[in-house]
Amino acid sequence: MAAIETRSLSKVYVTSFGNKKVRALNELNLTIEKGTIFGMLGPNGAGKTTLVKLLLQIIFPTFGTARLLDTDINDYHLKKKIGYLPENHKYPPYLSGGAVLKYFGKLSNINGLELDKKIDELLELVNLSKWKKAKVKTYSKGMMQRLGLAQALINDPELIFLDEPTDGVDPIGRKEIRDILLELKSRSKTIFLNSHLLSEVELITDRVGILNKGKLLREGTVRELTEKKEEYKITVSDEEFELTRYSDKNMIITKSNSGSYSVKVDDIRTMNLLVDKLRNDSVLIKEIVLQKDTLEEMFISLISQEEKGIEN
């Protein structure tokens, strides 16, 4: 079942004098299953925050439709099941951490003892129990992020949108937030994560989308996105044996410093032909590994290609 479903969702901003149009989101079709962590990646201005704001009706689409948890996004009651941590969120500085949670808890229709209990639980979860009565103006950036996360969870949401949740948080705090997100996932919560921190996204997400200039360039699991389908690393027992002799127009073989070989082939059949040849020549194969990029390498490569206007 889909937690998020968009159809041709688009947002065009028109400047004050109407002479310039900025396409912030371009006919986005996206389906995110329930109970998964989805990471949306993209450079600044890619449209990541625009997408979240559209889904939460903070801004309105120019055209296209969207549904969250099988409900049309126009229905504001839907937000009872949604949590949101915006980027650069601001809380009333005169409120304490506990009062901030109370405020947003009440707006989420939670009251009385249930709310008090939930506030204590969440402050404990984000390690802010000792700061419950301190005014938020005394909080550090990292503490504000953790309070923001607690705020996003106050209504025990089914679907959680987090926009740069680890921004300004130290490495230990980031690990704690990652653990919280994984724990939420284990409770079948759906998490939509906007982040610049690719290594972090790589660690926790089930699926990743890459957005640039309002266009969804790629979407899939981290493995699907980082696999280099036509490149293998091959290592043979006899280090003296020169594999490069098999190079031809369909297969480029280069030797690396480690003694292994990089094999670039057109398709998997060519790779299998190489294996046949090696076995016929009684070469003992120690290892064949499908080469992978890191998410960061893939991301940079994809965005660079997009910037140069190369269709991938």
Partner: protein
């Protein structure tokens, strides 16, 4: 309704935290102390003598309400200017990025959010005005031993005037996300347009020969909220216990309030943040 109450409650908390309440309470206290001092100087025996001589309780009432009005009227006008100044930023602050995003992500309709904020600000101004009017009334009533609660209704008419002007501030706050344009227009109406239109209606009407200009000014008189009447003749009548004698000013101003509130809500419901 619960959502509106929550917003109202936290708007009051915001006013408290921003020391707006404290500021108004301090001013009220100063005014009350000043009133106590001045009233203490009034020779009650002479006044009572006059009253006894005339044997008219009604005259006593008129004297008391005149004194009350003498103190409250100029201070209420000044207080209204201060109230507009101190509350105009509530809307732009709510609409700031990072703040409005959070509010709109909660299960609260945009209408509830805006109306809750509006009611919260009006309520906080009402509480301040009530404290001020009640204080003056209490001091003077104790001094003269004459108790007429009709004077307390002044707090309602002053708040009503504020609510009308704040609807305008709300509207421009939603459009511009700034407090300045709405505040300037509210001051323009309160200090210049409404008094001038009242002057035109009462005195200058007969001196204008052009029918076009007359029609234009007549139209303007009914469009612009009649704050000069509300804070003038209507307030005097209420203080004197005569009740509301001029419903036209109340109703045309109410229409202005409703129109600006409705347009504010309609704009807010479709605005991107």
């Amino acid at each position: 309704m619960n959502n509106i109450l929550t917003i109202v409650k936290f708007t009051l908390a915001e006013a408290l935290a921003r020391k707006v309440f404290l500021f108004f309470a301090a001013i009220t206290l100063l005014v009350l102390l000043g009133t106590l001092l001045v009233i203490g100087l009034v020779d009650l025996e002479t006044l009572m003598g006059i009253t006894k001589a005339t044997e008219q309780k009604q005259l006593m009432g008129e004297i008391v309400s005149s004194i009350e009005l003498l103190i409250v009227n100029p201070l209420a006008n000044l207080g209204l200017l201060l109230a507009i100044f101190s509350s105009a930023s509530f809307i732009p602050v709510m609409l700031e990025k990072g703040n409005i995003d959070l509010l709109l992500s909660k299960p609260i309709s945009r209408t509830q959010l805006l109306i809750g904020k509006y009611c919260g600000v009006v309520l906080f101004v009402f509480l301040n005005i009530l404290l001020f009017v009640f204080g003056i009334w209490l001091i003077i009533s104790i001094k003269f031993g004459y108790w007429d609660a009709s004077f307390l209704t002044l707090s309602l008419i002053i708040t009503y005037t504020f609510a009308i002007l704040y609807a305008l501030i709300l509207f421009f706050g939603v459009i511009t996300k700034s407090s300045i344009p709405g505040m300037m227009l509210a001051y323009l109406i309160f200090l210049i347009l409404s008094p001038l239109l009242l002057l035109y209606k009462d005195k200058l009407n007969e001196f204008i020969s052009s029918e076009i200009i007359k029609t234009f000014l007549d139209g303007l008189y009914f469009i612009i909220p009649q704050t000069a009447e509300l804070m003038g003749s209507i307030m005097i009548d209420l203080a004197a216990g005569k009740g509301i004698t001029n419903f036209q000013s109340i109703l045309t101003s109410l229409l202005f309030l409703i129109i600006f509130l409705v347009f504010s809500v309609l704009l807010f419901k479709r605005k991107d943040f």
